[in-house]
């Protein structure tokens, strides 16, 4: 007696759900048609002055919206404030914006956690600058600008620890190495150092550093500018053991991240190219990133 009526009730319930479904559908269709028209019109206007400020398809009209994660670490940003123009990536972002014709007031920053920067669907930023390394797999999901910085990985250990005196990658084989999740440092550790123990992978940079201070790990691997910042400001009594190239072949480069199919990529690439040929990019690098020359090369 009870079962059939229950089934009937659930049937009615699912019917009700079905009645609701088209409403959702309508709203999604509406928003995505908007997108596709945006895409086509952008595609149509790839003329000579397609990169003029007025003709750009921006997330917020009239403003260049740039995303980055929070907290924003030094030396890439200063005092967790991307809008200061201080720190390497902040400076690069403003230089690119300036080259494209935006004044400082016309640049808006938005917080984009790394994990959501590559989420499918409409993005809340025009481009994201967050030390994202360009790889072919990633380029299937998002678009990248040209590289604006060539990265090497740095190894940091406590001066009192066993691995402070390592002189080669082989010396690091038995070390317990910590990295931040979702970074290319992890791949670098796995493919280049190939440690005997699984590396420890933490959510945030601050967790990696805490683990090093607590001696839960022997060494950390981060990109070299961050390594300099870690030893100089974040962990007392730590030193850079050395640096190594993350990959055998192609150099690893940071790129600005765009929504797949963004019409802005070519314009930003053009701006970056101009900054590079004028020597501006090199100057910004010199201003904010310590020369890598001090760190011994690990082989």
């Amino acid at each position: 007696m009870r079962r059939p009526s229950l089934l009937l009730a659930s049937g009615a319930l699912t019917l009700a759900a079905a009645a609701c479904a088209p409403a959702n559908d309508a709203s999604t269709t509406a928003s995505s048609t908007e997108n596709s028209t945006a895409g086509t019109s952008a595609g149509a206007s790839t003329g000579a002055d397609a990169c003029a400020k007025e003709s750009l398809k921006l997330t917020t009209p009239g403003k260049l919206t740039i995303g980055t994660d929070k907290p924003a670490y030094e030396p890439w940003f200063k005092n967790d404030d991307p809008s200061s123009g201080q720190g390497f990536e902040s400076a690069v972002a403003y230089a690119v914006a300036g080259q494209m014709g935006f004044t400082r007031d016309e640049v808006a920053w938005t917080v984009v956690p790394f994990d959501s920067s590559f989420a499918p669907g409409p993005k809340q930023f025009d481009f994201d600058v967050n030390q994202v390394s360009i790889t072919p797999e990633r380029a299937k999901a998002v678009d990248f600008s040209q590289g604006y910085y060539t990265v090497k990985q740095g190894v940091v250990a406590l001066e009192s620890g066993r691995y402070a005196s390592a002189t080669s990658l082989a010396d690091l084989k038995d070390a317990k190495i910590g990295v931040q999740a979702a970074t290319t440092a992890l791949q670098a550790v796995r493919s280049v150092i190939q440690p005997a123990k699984d590396p420890s992978v933490f959510n945030q940079q601050v967790d990696v550093i805490t683990a090093l201070k607590n001696k839960q790990i022997d060494a950390i691997v981060v990109d070299l500018p961050t390594a300099f910042y870690v030893t100089a400001a974040q962990v007392k009594g730590s030193k850079i053991v050395g640096q190594f190239a993350a990959t055998g072949g192609e150099p690893e480069e940071f790129g600005l991240l765009f929504q797949k199919g963004s019409s802005l990529v070519s314009c930003v690439d053009k701006a970056l190219g101009e900054l590079r040929s004028s020597g501006e990019l090199a100057k910004i690098e010199g201003d904010w990133l310590t020369a890598a020359a001090g760190a011994p090369e690990l082989k």
Binding site: P4, A18, D25, E137, Q187, D198, N203, D207, K213
Partner: protein, 289 residues
């Protein structure tokens, strides 16, 4: 319903009873076909709506990529074994801790006031702290003390945090079970000259534990999922392995792999809980008619 113990050999169902049963069967069939039809309509509508939506190819590519699935599966599975290990170690410890705390709370003698107060404080504090916070606090706080002999291994620390957190929940579940045993049971036991301890051991606890098995299993289903929180301390468990693959490829399919593995573990547990609950109902209420 019909085949009870009153089966005298010459008894036959009356005409009316047969009609009644036929009617009930027909009604049941109608309900089932209505439910089936409506379910089919819903499923088909959903599939059509989702797959014809403009973003579908993108969703398919980023969430349902077979290559990404195959690529991530071995690592995520390897990580998942760590989740199971954490769960299997934590579960008995939680049971013991929860039971001890619940028993301490039940002590009546005034001498035990400090212990009772401690038990109350423990449940209040650790049930109040979000589990992930506790994992952070224990995982990074304990090694920072640099004490001799304090564990530094992230998995051990993670297990400690989970045990502390879930121990508080389970203590409350046990306490509820103990308090649900009717006072007359206790009074009867005491009147038989059993001590407080014996009363608990032989009369109250067996009944209490049997009553709280379903909520306990519910907590353990929760624990199975929360083993993923240990990821923040560095070990490569399923969620972290999935995240690593997702970050490498900018594809979300690895998360789906991890989700499926967790479901594969929790669904049997949930069915088992249902089964136990149904059995308890049958035993206590004498059938569900």
């Amino acid at each position: 319903m019909t085949d009870g113990h009153a089966a005298a050999p010459e008894w036959v169902k009356s005409e009316r009873q047969l009609r009644r049963e036929a009617e009930l069967r027909a009604r049941g069939r109608r309900s089932i076909s209505a439910a089936t039809a409506s379910t089919l309509v819903v499923v088909v509508t959903l599939i059509v709506v989702i797959t014809t939506s403009p973003g579908w190819p993108r969703v398919q590519e980023t969430f349902l990529s077979p290559e990404a699935f195959v690529e991530a599966l071995p690592d995520v599975l390897r990580g998942f074994l760590l989740n199971i290990k954490i769960f299997l170690i934590a579960e008995p410890l939680i049971l013991v801790l929860g039971l001890v705390v619940a028993l301490v709370r039940g002590l009546r003698s005034p001498v035990f006031f400090p212990l009772r107060a401690l038990a109350v404080l423990y449940t209040d504090v650790f049930r109040g702290i979000p589990t992930i916070l506790l994992v952070y606090l224990v995982g990074f706080g304990v090694p920072a003390l640099q004490l001799q002999g304090a564990p530094g291994d992230p998995v051990t620390l993670g297990i400690i945090a989970l045990v502390l957190s879930y121990g508080a929940y389970v203590a409350e579940v046990f306490r509820a079970g103990i308090e649900s045993v009717h006072p007359s049971q206790r009074a009867a036991a005491r009147s038989l000259a059993l001590t407080h301890g014996q009363t608990m051991r032989y009369v109250v606890l067996p009944q209490a534990v049997r009553r709280v098995v379903p909520p306990l299993l519910n907590d353990f289903t929760s624990l199975q999922k929360d083993t993923a929180l240990v990821a923040v301390l560095g070990p490569l468990e399923a969620l972290r392995q999935a995240q690593i693959h997702a970050a490498m490829s900018f594809n979300y399919t690895p998360y789906l792999v991890a989700a499926l593995l967790f479901i594969a573990l929790t669904v049997p547990m949930a069915r088992f809980t249902d089964h136990l609950a149904a059995r308890a109902r049958r035993r206590e209420g004498g059938g569900d008619a």
